[in-house]
């Protein structure tokens, strides 16, 4: 199963055909469902995309901090495949976007160096019939909850896409000389600082590049995640994720906040 369109399994097409007849499924809570309706969208179906990817191995130098570009590329491609398939499902339903997207990575005992990348979310369609597809002509994606989606719309912004940047980085081990030279001292280790700084900034820059390709004016809800996956403690994946947004209206309809005293917990 590769990237091109229409590579969805037969079971998926059968499920989507049922959804096209009017029945919708969603993982939205009742409150989220009502708020999505409030801003003029209707859920059309729960959509997902998956990719089982062999991430492979890459040799690394013991004493050199460096990006492991092959692993970075693998982690990036695998998520892209899962996201694309989810967008494909949404497009099949005629959706304008997907909200509440979650991206997960699962490892199984049967697949050494392989991982399953899954993207799931709820496809939504504008009730006024006006297309809300993003600049690339695809349904917008976003990891925002229903509440956040409603709030964002009140500020005049519209999500364009879930954007991400990743960087797999190997942090050098310290040599005997370096270790002995600082024995018993609490001091900064500039090489380590620089390596970590570089890795995170690379991940964030790549995320910003994706947002730029969508013509976004900004990214909200940025999260920085770190995982060693199965590579050992010195190899870390830095993942930056957020929702790219554009300003579609100068009107801000958000009600002025009121001070409250909650009578429950």
């Amino acid at each position: 199963m590769s990237n091109p369109t229409n590579d969805l399994p037969q079971a998926t097409e059968h499920r989507l055909e049922e959804l096209e007849k009017g029945l919708f499924t969603s993982d939205l809570s009742v409150n989220e469902f009502l708020l999505i309706k409030e801003v003029g969208f209707h859920p059309v179906g729960f959509v997902m995309g998956s990719s089982i990817y062999h991430t492979g191995i890459q040799t690394r130098k013991w004493s050199q901090s460096q990006e492991l570009t092959k692993l970075t590329e693998a982690m990036y491609n695998a998520r892209e495949l899962a996201m694309n398939r989810m967008e494909e499902e949404a497009a099949e339903l005629g959706a304008d976007g997907v909200v509440g997207v979650r991206l997960d990575v699962n490892y199984y005992e049967w697949g050494k160096d392989a991982a399953e990348f899954i993207a799931v979310g709820t496809a939504v369609k504008a009730e006024d019939g006006v297309s809300r597809l993003n600049q690339l002509g695809k349904p917008f994606t976003s990891d925002l909850s229903g509440q956040d989606f409603w709030t964002l719309r009140q500020t005049g912004y519209m999500p364009q896409g879930l954007v991400m940047g990743t960087c797999v980085y190997h942090i050098a081990h310290r040599g005997i000389g370096q270790t002995l030279g600082t024995t018993g001292q609490n001091v900064e280790l500039p090489n380590f600082t620089q390596a970590l700084y570089e890795a995170r900034e690379l991940a964030m820059t790549r995320m910003q590049d994706e947002a730029a390709r969508l013509g976004a004016s900004g990214i909200v809800g940025v999260r920085l995640e770190e995982k060693s996956h199965q590579w050992g403690s010195h190899t870390i994946e830095f993942l930056a994720l957020g929702t790219a947004v554009t300003k579609t209206s100068e009107e801000m309809t958000l009600a002025k906040p009121t001070t409250i005293i909650s009578l429950d917990n």
Partner: protein, 294 residues
């Protein structure tokens, strides 16, 4: 890499020179920022990886008279006399000033780098600051990481210095509404090492009655004293950073590490927001009582 200007990595400068804003704020906090007239400019961050050792004073633990006399020290004598070579003849609480200083160096380096990133963006302040520290891949290396969202005050003149706060969204709005403005975050760590005396050790092991110590449930004086002192030291460090301003939203957290039986480190961390009054007290609108249906 020292905490002086222009020690940001090349990748950081490249990222910050791009146009689009990034924000680590939740959508609610983002909306509240816009409502207050704060324009998010970018997610800013600072790091510092520190080599970390808990052994900073030669001879500590061998005799109660070893080590530096700076900081808090309290000795405990055994009331039982020589019983066996395994029976502890003395105990001691002492402040680990080298841990406190190193923590301050690490935090301040990461903090100044974050402010430097914010300054590069022309920000007035950093809101929603999140700080964390934790072990890195190598044993004995601790990483300090601070991040927040740089903001510009709309229609305000260029900033002289960048302010910072842990607050964001409605909590920040309420501070402004009450007539206060954020100045900076303040944070400190106090570290007290506990080398248990015989009584402390027996009480902690639940065998106090064997040694004529009160068999009932009772407080362990040496541990209580260490806890109180570490909190008092953390408070005094933060007070020194306030320079007459007020502290808001302070939170005190404690951490206990056990290195060996009867050998503990008690850490207290106090963090909060340094705020300054910029307008006279203006009572807030009467709050509306509400009951949530969810």
């Amino acid at each position: 890499m020292t905490p002086t200007p222009s020690d940001l990595p090349e990748a950081a400068k490249r990222r910050l020179s791009q146009g689009a804003f990034t924000s680590g704020l939740s959508v609610s906090d983002f909306a509240a920022c816009l409502e207050m007239g704060l324009e998010p400019l970018g997610l800013v961050q600072g790091f510092c990886a520190m080599q970390w050792t808990t052994f900073g004073s030669f001879g500590r633990g061998v005799t109660p008279f070893a080590g530096s006399s700076s900081g808090y020290v309290e000795n405990y004598q055994c009331p039982h006399g020589m019983i066996s070579s395994e029976h502890r003849m003395w105990g001691q609480n002492y402040e680990q000033t080298w841990i406190e200083n190193s923590w301050r160096d690490g935090f301040n380096s990461a903090y100044s780098r974050m402010l430097e990133e914010a300054g590069t963006l022309g920000a007035h302040g950093v809101v929603g600051l999140i700080d964390s520290e934790g072990p890195l891949s190598d044993v004995g290396v601790v990483e300090f990481h601070l991040s927040g969202t740089a903001v510009r005050v709309l229609d305000a003149p260029a900033p002289h210095h960048v302010w910072s706060t842990y607050l964001a969204g409605q909590r920040l709005a309420k501070i402004f509404e009450a007539g206060y403005a954020p100045v900076s975050v303040v944070s400190s760590v106090a570290s007290v090492r506990v080398l248990s005396s015989c009584i402390t050790e027996y009480l902690m092991g639940g065998t106090g009655a064997m040694w004529s110590v009160n068999a009932e449930t009772t407080e362990i004086e040496q541990i209580v004293s260490a806890q109180n002192e570490s909190r008092a030291i953390a408070r005094s460090f933060v007070r020194a950073q306030l320079h007459g301003d007020a502290l808001h939203g302070a939170s005190m957290t404690g951490l206990t590490r056990e290195f060996a039986q009867g050998d503990l480190e008690i850490q207290s961390r106090l963090s909060g927001n340094r705020i300054r009054r910029f307008k006279d007290f203006d009572p807030l609108t009467a709050p509306r009582p509400t009951v949530r249906l969810s």
